[in-house]
């Protein structure tokens, strides 16, 4: 499988002011490198504030990077003129968490799906109308949904509209940022199954941003785990769930609620909260919460290393990664 998206040493920092007015730098994404392969579902998981949404937005150049490069199908997005980038954007789309929030309440469902076709002047008016009808069918909506307005449809239907609009320009790559988090359980399964079907029938590649580990296990081919702006582990989905290497990944999996009343009760795997990404510590970002922390962890930044074929981790517990200084 070849890479569709290549991310090289990408960093996104924000200038912020603390509550006392002090200037500080928030390291939302900090020196991250990975690739997204054609037709895969790469899941990006982590807790709030880990930088997963910022990373997604930076890949699409919706947020300005501080350093590093992003390549899409061999072309460097980070060095591209605005017009060229706009043309290439037809091939890269994003779906957000709150489907109603991404629809204009005054625009009908049909027009919302047609907007990208109008903006990019695709085909004739009749062709656009036919494409809208085709897209509605593709995402499991009826033709008469086109006349409705956002307040007349449910959250699940609104997310189907957002997917239809994202598909309008025949993209290759879709970033889905928590696409089912705001939906009810019975509707979540409908949307996940729809997205899985569309990947196969349209040959799509997904970056699936999520915090729910059970959802990710069912949906992804590979998983990248983020903590405080860094990817700490990256592996094929089955390998990551079968034998997670990073203590943070292990703790996340141990923290997920077990939907079995007879399973033995486990104490919380982690104490405390995620520290602030403002002025993060030197050394390993996870050292302050890590149950297996060593002296070296507080001083030396672990290098992201391929410990086993296809299984990458940044942790001093695995000697190959302990030698560098990041």
């Amino acid at each position: 499988m070849t890479a569709l998206v290549v991310v090289e040493a990408l960093s996104t920092y924000f200038q912020v002011r603390g509550p006392t007015g002090r200037r500080a730098v928030l390291h939302a994404v900090d020196n991250v490198s990975f690739e997204i392969r054609r037709n895969e579902i790469l899941a990006l998981v982590g807790e709030s504030g880990c930088g997963k949404s910022t990373l997604g937005r930076t890949i699409l150049q919706l947020t300005k990077r501080t350093a590093g490069r992003v390549l899409f199908d061999g072309q460097e997005l980070t060095a591209m003129a605005a017009g060229d980038l706009r043309r290439l954007r037809r091939r890269m789309q994003i779906i957000f968490q709150n489907p109603h929030g991404s629809l204009d309440p005054r625009v009908s469902v049909g027009q919302a799906i047609r907007d990208p076709l109008d903006i990019h002047a695709v085909g004739t008016g009749e062709e656009r109308q036919a494409r809208v009808a085709e897209l509605l069918g593709l995402v499991g909506l009826h033709a008469d949904h086109a006349q409705r307005f956002p307040h007349q449809i449910s959250g699940g239907q609104a997310q189907r509209v957002a997917i239809a609009r994202a598909l309008a320009l025949h993209p290759d790559f879709i970033i889905a940022d928590e696409p089912v988090s705001s939906l009810d359980v019975s509707i979540q399964a409908q949307i996940l199954n729809l997205m899985a079907d569309l990947r196969v029938s349209l040959g799509l590649t997904y970056l699936f941003i999520a915090h729910n580990l059970a959802v990710v296990e069912h949906f992804s081919t590979r998983v990248a785990v983020m903590y405080l702006g860094r990817i700490v582990e990256l592996a094929p989905s089955r390998a990551l769930y079968a034998h997670p290497l990073h203590p943070y990944t292990q703790a996340l999996l141990a923290s997920a609620p077990v939907a079995d009343p007879d399973a033995p009760l486990r104490p919380p795997a982690l104490a405390g909260d995620v520290p602030s990404p403002v002025d993060p510590p030197t050394g390993c970002r996870f050292a302050s919460r890590c149950p297996r922390v060593m002296t070296v962890c507080r001083n030396v930044d672990p290098v992201f290393t391929e410990i086993e074929p296809e299984h990458w981790v940044a942790c001093h517990l695995y000697p190959l990664s302990g030698s560098g200084s990041g």
């Binding site: 509550p19 449910s154 699940g156 409908q190 069912h218 939907a259 405390g272």
Partner: protein, 325 residues
């Protein structure tokens, strides 16, 4: 269950007027909670679970109103209680915590000041006593270095710490019932595990009964003794947690359990419940789940099933309940 229930909700109806007629957000809701028990009130958005618990505290906002029913708590009918007595009850015998702890804390006062308000009804306490009582509250919910944290402001607290503080304040009056409305939904998974562990400890140490309102069946499995499932304003199933997970009787419960992705049980496709919950303004005749139910027959579309209890104490609202697998 032995002895009288701590809380007995019987045929509760909560109505909201709309331009197109009134909507019954809770329509004949009945369930019971025994002392020291953790009961999960589970359902999807709009099923009536939150409005039911607001009714328990008589906090339904006008123009919404409690149209009928009885809520008996510790032997007294709350719906006929004078407003003054109801106010005394809230925060003492009955406490509530909400989904978003950060908005429950006032940003301009210190956490200590806000906890001190809990003791306003005890004017005989000295300032120093109030401070150590407030610190004790934070200590009970396992906030490290509690004395120093009293001087903190809300923005210096993480979401997990704020929810701990809210639980601590709720527990200050030693309530016999704590109502927790989606207490971990806004929190990260590692912090969620800590809060669930804390709720478990509170029940064990203080024998407090807890109603946990949630949309997430997974978190009820290891916390709740019993589960009440709601759908479209009604209770559709009530059972012990073990029985509900082992052998659900309502087809909606079965659908919820099957559509839930579970760790370690990777499937190529998730089971899904087709369609969506009905609009409460235009409810169908007959069973409210019939349009989405794999078992529905003609009878389900004309005759509304009643909530019926079986000998083993389970309750289900269905003409054709599932047999144990």
């Amino acid at each position: 269950m032995n002895g009288p229930p701590l809380l007995d909700v019987d045929d509760l109806r909560v109505e909201f007027p709309t331009p197109r007629g009134s909507v019954r957000a809770a329509d004949g809701v009945s369930f019971r909670v025994w002392p020291g028990e953790i009961v999960g009130l589970v359902g999807e958005s709009g099923c009536g679970k939150s409005v039911t618990t607001l009714a328990l505290l008589r906090l339904v906002r006008p123009p919404g109103r409690i149209a009928s029913g009885r809520i008996v708590f510790q032997g007294r009918d709350l719906l006929t209680l004078p407003a003054q007595e109801m106010r005394m009850l809230r925060g003492s015998a009955m406490a509530m915590i909400f989904q978003n702890p950060m908005t429950a804390l006032d940003p301009v006062f210190t956490v200590g000041d806000q906890i001190a308000e809990v003791f306003e009804s005890h004017p005989q306490l000295h300032t120093n006593d109030v401070r150590s009582a407030a610190a004790a509250i934070l200590e009970r919910v396992r906030i490290p270095n509690p004395k120093a944290q009293l001087k903190a402001y809300a923005h210096q607290f993480s979401g997990g710490m704020a929810q701990r503080a809210m639980i601590g304040m709720g527990m200050a009056g030693k309530p016999s019932l704590l109502i927790a409305d989606e207490p971990t939904t806004a929190l990260d998974v590692s912090v969620q595990a800590q809060i669930l562990d804390l709720l478990r400890a509170i029940r064990t140490e203080l024998k407090t009964a807890i109603i946990l309102i949630t949309h997430d069946l997974a978190i009820t499995a290891q916390l709740c003794d019993r589960i009440v499932v709601m759908y479209a304003g009604q209770v559709v199933e009530a059972s012990t947690t073990r029985e509900l997970f082992r052998a659900p009787q309502h087809h909606y419960t079965r659908g919820l359990l099957d559509s839930m992705p579970r760790l370690g049980q990777r499937r190529e496709r998730l089971a899904q419940i087709p369609g969506q919950p009905p609009d409460l303004r235009t409810l169908p005749v007959g069973c409210r789940f019939a349009a989405r139910c794999p078992r529905a027959e003609d009878r389900c579309r004309v005759e509304e099933p009643a909530l019926t209890s079986s000998r083993d104490g389970r309750e289900v609202r269905c003409h054709f309940p599932l047999e144990p697998r």
